[in-house]
Symmetry: C2
Subunit: 219 residues, 2 copies
């Protein structure tokens, strides 16, 4: 199966850190899908046209030849399967498990707790203050970054990037999460290995061109 970029559409929003992941993966693969901008703050994800694409009403999603591909882990594994070069996962099963583990810590333990809809629930339903929501957000980020720094610093397979000297699925998840942490003014100094990897990643066009501020729909 070969990718046909002309039939590939990305539904995206510049500020979504989940969309940021998928933009990096697409750039690394050299795929340039059509982009449809779904303005989350105007609530366009809840409108009928987008719900027809993704009834879950969350961004991002890919449409490929009439099939909706959603959830960023599944989307990037899909891109890896239809466009294997350059690889975003190493060849060896144990190394693949290591890379997926790093991505999963971000996807399953950090990002879900700092989500906008979760913050809204804490504030609007539970009556928590803005400051307490911020403390919550930073708390889960700290647990996650502590784990990631230990895991990545303490492994001889770490190179310029999380795994070896080329970016993988791990970096694709790590870098947007660090950008997210900066938005809540977290001190990242305790994570020298992660900072070193972030610097290497943000020197590559695939990461630079995926940054929120470099999107056509950025405000």
């Amino acid at each position: 199966m070969s990718p046909k970029p002309e039939s590939l559409t990305l539904y995206t929003y510049f500020r979504s850190s989940a969309a940021f992941r998928v933009r990096i993966a697409l750039n690394l693969k050299g795929l340039k899908p059509e982009q449809v901008f779904v303005h989350l703050r105007r609530g366009e994800h809840r409108d009928a046209p987008y719900r027809a694409i993704n009834p879950q009403a969350i961004v991002p999603a890919l449409m490929h030849d009439g099939e909706t591909i959603a959830q960023t882990l599944a989307m990037i594994e899909y891109l890896e399967e239809i466009a294997p070069i350059p690889p975003l996962l190493p060849a060896d099963a144990r190394d693949r498990a290591r890379v997926r583990r790093i991505a999963d810590i971000v996807a399953c333990e950090m990002h879900p707790l700092g989500n906008l809809r979760v913050q809204n629930y804490l504030r609007d339903v539970m009556g928590q203050s803005e400051a307490d929501v911020l403390t919550w957000h930073r708390h889960w980020l700290t647990l996650g970054f502590d784990a990631l720094e230990a895991l990545i610093a303490d492994d001889r397979r770490t190179g310029v990037f999380c795994h070896g000297d080329a970016p993988t699925l791990a970096d694709i998840f790590l870098i947007p999460q660090m950008a997210n942490a900066r938005r809540v003014e977290m001190d990242l100094a305790p994570y020298p290995t992660l900072l070193r990897i972030e610097k290497a990643a943000l020197a590559l066009p695939a990461f630079i061109d995926a940054l929120p501020q470099n999107q056509p729909d950025a405000e």
Copy 2:
């Protein structure tokens, strides 16, 4: 690479719904690793012996020939790679993306918000009542099950199980999450398709033998 079950160890706790997922996958693959029981309520996951295996101090983990494999999505993708028969993912890339999407909705949107440590934070740090924590837990489960029911009921690829007539990664994530919902007494009647699949799954030894109450460390 062929799996050597004699060198495979599962670190597990009967009540962990993440461990439940991995037990189902191991059973479907016919793998019988050595089991080490880590008693979460006695805090054994925070003790030095387990931290040497998984510094994140979360259960489950697999140890295979000296390598720790953690995070359930990564663990089950690993089992799929080292023991491909019977497959837990379909052959076609789009179908694989569909199955992974279902698993990811559970892993990235439902389970993380009902975690024990999250409940503890809401109660102990944020001062929320037991009832409000329960409402929170059910709120995120409802959003997730609503999405899953729509996605699964409305697709001709759904069969006896989430995808076709044999269990996949999707069922491995769905069934433990439904067990979790029953523990917080959620009404699952609005999800007839999910209930039908659960019934089919719980007729199979691989699922029955993985149930929390059927583990050697069950209390």
